[in-house]
Symmetry: C2
Subunit: 351 residues, 2 copies
Amino acid sequence: MTIPNLNIVPFVSVENMMKLVLEIGVDRFLTDLAAYIEEDFRRWDLFDKTPRVASHSHDGVIELMPTSDGQLYGFKYVNGHPKNMREGRQTVTAFGVLADVGSGYPMLLTEMTILTALRTAATSAVAAKYLAPKGADTMAIVGNGAQSEFQATAFKALLGIDRLRLYDIDGSASRKCAANLKGQGFDITICKTAQEAVEGAHIITTVTADKQYAMILTDNMVGTGVHINAVGGDCPGKTELHRDILLRSHIVVEYPPQTRVEGEIQQLAADHPVTELWQVMTGKAPGRDDQRQITLFDSVGFAIEDFSALRYVRDQLRTIPRYDELDLLADPDEPRDLFGMLLRQATKQTA
Amino acid sequence: MTIPNLNIVPFVSVENMMKLVLEIGVDRFLTDLAAYIEEDFRRWDLFDKTPRVASHSHDGVIELMPTSDGQLYGFKYVNGHPKNMREGRQTVTAFGVLADVGSGYPMLLTEMTILTALRTAATSAVAAKYLAPKGADTMAIVGNGAQSEFQATAFKALLGIDRLRLYDIDGSASRKCAANLKGQGFDITICKTAQEAVEGAHIITTVTADKQYAMILTDNMVGTGVHINAVGGDCPGKTELHRDILLRSHIVVEYPPQTRVEGEIQQLAADHPVTELWQVMTGKAPGRDDQRQITLFDSVGFAIEDFSALRYVRDQLRTIPRYDELDLLADPDEPRDLFGMLLRQATKQTA
């Protein structure tokens, strides 16, 4: 019998996360993670849900996103600082923790910058499974930054989307995206305008990064029957779609109290009807019920998706042990004797 | 010029925290930390304040405690599980993060089980500086668990309290406390009842651990002129003092919206007058104004104290580099190229 080291918490560094993703394979990782997300959304009622706890400042926001299913507790720390890009930093960085509700002890600490990119793409693809028109094979991606390749890969893995139409105000971003996706079975067209990108697309993904009200899509650009996967409008004051598009769309969201403040629907009245993604998944509400309908997944990212990602990584580490052991928790021999542990350390040091 | 490694976050393990505390010295650590706490309480208005974000379950609670002064952001993860003690685990474990508000990047990750014990004691001693009767030299400590020696040491370092009267329902806890404090200049009496412990004490510290309404002190046990340092009543449904004691006391709290829910004053009407510690420190409200007055510091622990502790540790690490470097943040060469970083890792692995 091994005595557990109660002080140790497994830690997945950025390098180990990359190794884990590559050993599993990006496509399988996204597909399996999507299944975990769907599983958790299907048991929506079990979760302790709260809008993220945000600390806003001039340059950005720092957020904590906690949730629990009663057995496990997870939270993510994540920032959003658009100006970071110009200083060679990530707009969004994140890390997260999974803990045991029974003891309150953390069970896993992991980088979540890469993991968030994966879970965001997996969530978009899961939503599109229910909302995209039948036979969709072409996706426009407007905004070709850090999230774009993950979106493309998830939509290919889960929905078989293999024709991409890329647009970014910075052409080098589109070329970077196309280069990264080369040789992975995509037919890629780089477009000169957003208007050109959406032509013939069955799915339109908007994923730009500026923290401001923007008009990435105007009403005339969106024809009947498309599915819009709106990923970039994800904090107060940041939207990507013209309001008129929203008024024509069947709108699906993750968690209304959060999306009303952060999503595209911040442009609409507080009581504008929206459907929750978990309701669509469980058949409590319709997804797409007409091939001519415009569907809109107004994605802002919710704590349960991070919880699913933490849970998935925890399960994978059992067979692919890509982690370090972190001496994070004080573990005196006698639990009431924290001070004595300090005294014994002093003795050790002078010995 | 050195190029900063943007992926690296300094990490203070439990072992390094012990080394840091011992190299600085417990007394000086507590005194210096108390000064940081006082400095932050004196600029109270600058802080983004919110009650902790709690996830309650049958066996305990997991909490996130964020705050920011506009330049730095800090949060602590902390659990409270009274049953843990019986399973050889800590009732309370914690870790925390300090981050740069400008970029949202974490600057420090540290164990906070030991650090919380130190900051709780330092906060109690700071409050007592303003509230304890003049000439106080004797303190009763009711509850001799993990926090007791830290309280004793802080009160000696900051107020010169050197006579202790210990009581715990488990006598072995009192003996452990006395043994740990041996040779540090205390005159210690182990008492058979709480009644006996409070006799002749100028300061009464209550710091028991059970998660329930308890009656550690009854009204008749508390004479005029004492200062009560009530540390153990710190979550909904957990109190230590008889309500009548509160009605006779000048009550000082950290942050009313949190203390009304978690502290001893959860027994009182929601509008019962209380004084905030920062007001006492800045002279906006009286501390003790009569030697016969009963003062009560109804301590529940507030995020700003953890912020001060994180800030203090960050400053100490500049000269005493007791930390490891954690590969916590993804840092691609081109910030928009997170996916490309993954591809290059794949190339590295097959090379």
